[in-house]
């Protein structure tokens, strides 16, 4: 019974994390080693972009207890910022991408007053906030191209002989960026700040009583989450090569990462990444081959089953399985 109640998990030990990272890197290298075609690499690229946003969303929820329905705002701001910086100001793409993350952080600062809210009130405030940016992108047509969209987006460059605009190049770049973001997330979790933030997620009042500046810590997490989401928005813009407000600020960028993170286990570092890759590939490869039109219904069944059987997500299920085996051996 108790295993069905989500609980704050302690960060796992370094050796087990290293094993996890090793397995993840081997899995990441497999498609290239197996000579996967453009189609499969394209699917993995989309899945990794989703994984990046899922990670950023889980970071905010896990460290600080903030449930966001508005990550589309940071994704869209990052997309447009990098596209405009590189196309209109001529900045190198590899510089405009992190700058886009910084601009997404700037956009997140406007949300600081909402940090006083909690639970559904914060979620609603950030949802409304994302709509403001979509309307701004539509109305500022002299800058963004408005509803007609923006197409002249420079592609990713070639670095050390690796064409990052190619499918294999984009895939390698995204694996590296997702891994870096996961590392930052893991380091924050393990720090004292991370401990305080997880305590805030459990009881904000109690942590304030012991002298923790919860507002400041939550603001830092919001900024970090916005930065990561903005960077993935920027990378997506350069890979897809087209932006329009309805696409860049689509609710899909808010909802799908939540589904992926919960599926994988949002209280873990690798859960959101694994969840994003698995649900995207399951939907596009398995479900689509079974039901060409309306395949999303299979994904719905899978998610419902997952939430019922393993509310702590895929990694939670794996942990339960391993613990069961250890107990049996003991």
């Amino acid at each position: 019974m108790s295993s069905h109640v989500p609980s704050v998990s302690r960060p796992s030990s370094w050796p087990s994390s290293i094993v996890f990272v090793g397995i993840a890197l081997v899995l990441a290298a497999l498609p290239l080693a197996a000579g996967a075609g453009n189609y499969f690499l394209g699917l993995l690229i989309s899945a990794l972009i989703l994984a990046g946003i899922s990670l950023a969303w889980a970071l905010l929820g896990n460290l600080g207890g903030m449930v966001s329905f508005g990550h589309a705002a940071f994704f869209g701001v990052g997309s447009y910022a990098s596209a405009l910086l590189s196309a209109k100001l001529g900045l190198p793409v590899l510089l405009s991408v992190p700058l886009a993350g910084v601009i997404a952080v700037g956009a997140s600062l406007l949300m600081i007053p909402a940090l006083r809210l909690s639970g559904p009130y914060f979620a609603l405030a950030i949802l409304a906030y994302s709509q403001i940016f979509r309307i701004l992108a539509t109305e500022l047509s002299w800058l963004t191209g408005g509803a007609a969209g923006f197409q002249a987006i420079p592609q990713l460059p070639t670095v050390l002989g690796l064409d990052l605009a190619s499918r294999s190049g984009s895939y390698v770049l995204l694996v590296v960026v997702v891994a870096l973001c996961a590392l930052v997330y893991a380091l924050v979790r393990r720090s004292l700040v991370g401990t305080a933030l997880r305590a805030i997620a459990d009881s904000e009042d109690a942590t304030r009583v012991v002298g923790v500046n919860s507002m400041l810590l939550k603001a830092w997490m919001l900024a970090l989450s916005a930065f990561i989401t903005g960077v993935f928005g920027a990378l997506n813009a350069h890979i897809i090569g087209f932006l329009e407000p309805d696409y860049a600020f689509s609710g899909v960028w808010s909802v799908l990462p939540i589904i992926a993170a919960i599926f994988g286990g949002y209280r873990t570092t690798f859960g959101p990444i694994g969840g994003a890759v698995i649900i995207y590939l399951f939907d596009q490869v398995v479900a689509k081959s079974i039901i060409a039109v309306g395949h999303q219904i299979l994904l719905g069944f899978l998610l419902a089953a997952m939430i019922l059987l393993a509310p702590n997500g895929l990694l939670g299920l794996a942990e339960r399985f391993l613990k069961g085996r250890r107990d049996a051996e003991a």
Binding site: A148, G149, F242, E244, Y247, V293
Partner: protein
Amino acid sequence: MIRKSIVSLSLALAMAVGTAAASAEELLIGAHMPLTGSLARSGQTFTEGMQIAVRQFNERSDKYKFKVEVIDDESTPAKAVSAVEKLVNDGAVAVIGGYGSNIIGPASAASNNLGKVYITAGAVSDELTARGLKTFFRINNNAGYQRGVENLVAELKPSAVSIIASTREAPALLAKGLEQSLAEKGVKVTVHSFDPAITDFKPIINKVKLRDKADMIVMSAYENDYVGIIRAAKVLKPDVKLIVGVWSLATPKMYSEFPDLMNNVVGTSFVPFPVEVNDPEGKRFADLYREVYNKDIEYLATLSFVETTILLEAISRAAEAGTLDKGGLPDEMRKTDRQTLLGRVKFDETGDNPFFSLSMGQHRDGKIVLVSPQANANGSIVYPGLPW
């Protein structure tokens, strides 16, 4: 002896027919369409027109037979790009595009990178043809829709026009073009842009009624918006003489679903309803479409039929010339110059069809009468003419 000869002759004939059928080269074309989500109806109709074009072409071609593989792009750019890559991987010699410039842009760029011809009838953004892609072609464009409305305005000569435009890409582009061109012709134009999320149009109609004092309302929007705008106008009854829209308005389906709102409303159209098609190709298309889908041809199906037919003809020509595998298809596409159900189709250097133009049809008690331009009209316009 005679019996033996007949049997031998029959066998020889059967073998000859069998050999011809067996020697027909089978080619695959790919398509990505929005088959789920809010644009599913458009994607489905596009697919129907495409399937009929393939079937009709295969009926008359002995040498080349076509198969079509359709993938649902879910109106998502990344999935459309993946669909193109999968289709080409599966052996498609060319790709037919879906719906919306945000989808067509990245998908056609992916197709160009893979060296495959990409044709669409579902995106009007001018930026698409400005990219200089050698393999990109489209049969319709914003200018064609604009010309249709401009011709009507020139014939009716209203002194003031109110344009109610969605901020979505295609409607916004059309509204911008119309605002400029009608103002140049001395018509007083007021544009009211609205967010696609809006469903109550009474505040806008109030502005049209009290401030604009327009003779004509032009709606640059989509089906649900048309219904909301006309419903609000029916309540507030502004002193206008005509309500005009563009795509997907002058269709039998709109009248059958909203008979109280559609009478006398004008929209872009190719053919009147009941369908009157005179040329043999169009007649066969209409008959086959009715036989297979038990309904009359409509706007999107016609667009899709024409683009697919043109593509199949160009592929056959390239295959015949032995250039299909050597990148010769774009050149064959550029050699296209023929009359179609949409009028003349010929591609310029950018892949656009500068001859695209539309007629305007008016809902009349369940029928659609072509009323503009005069050269294509099969009846006179009711003007003033309103749904109330």
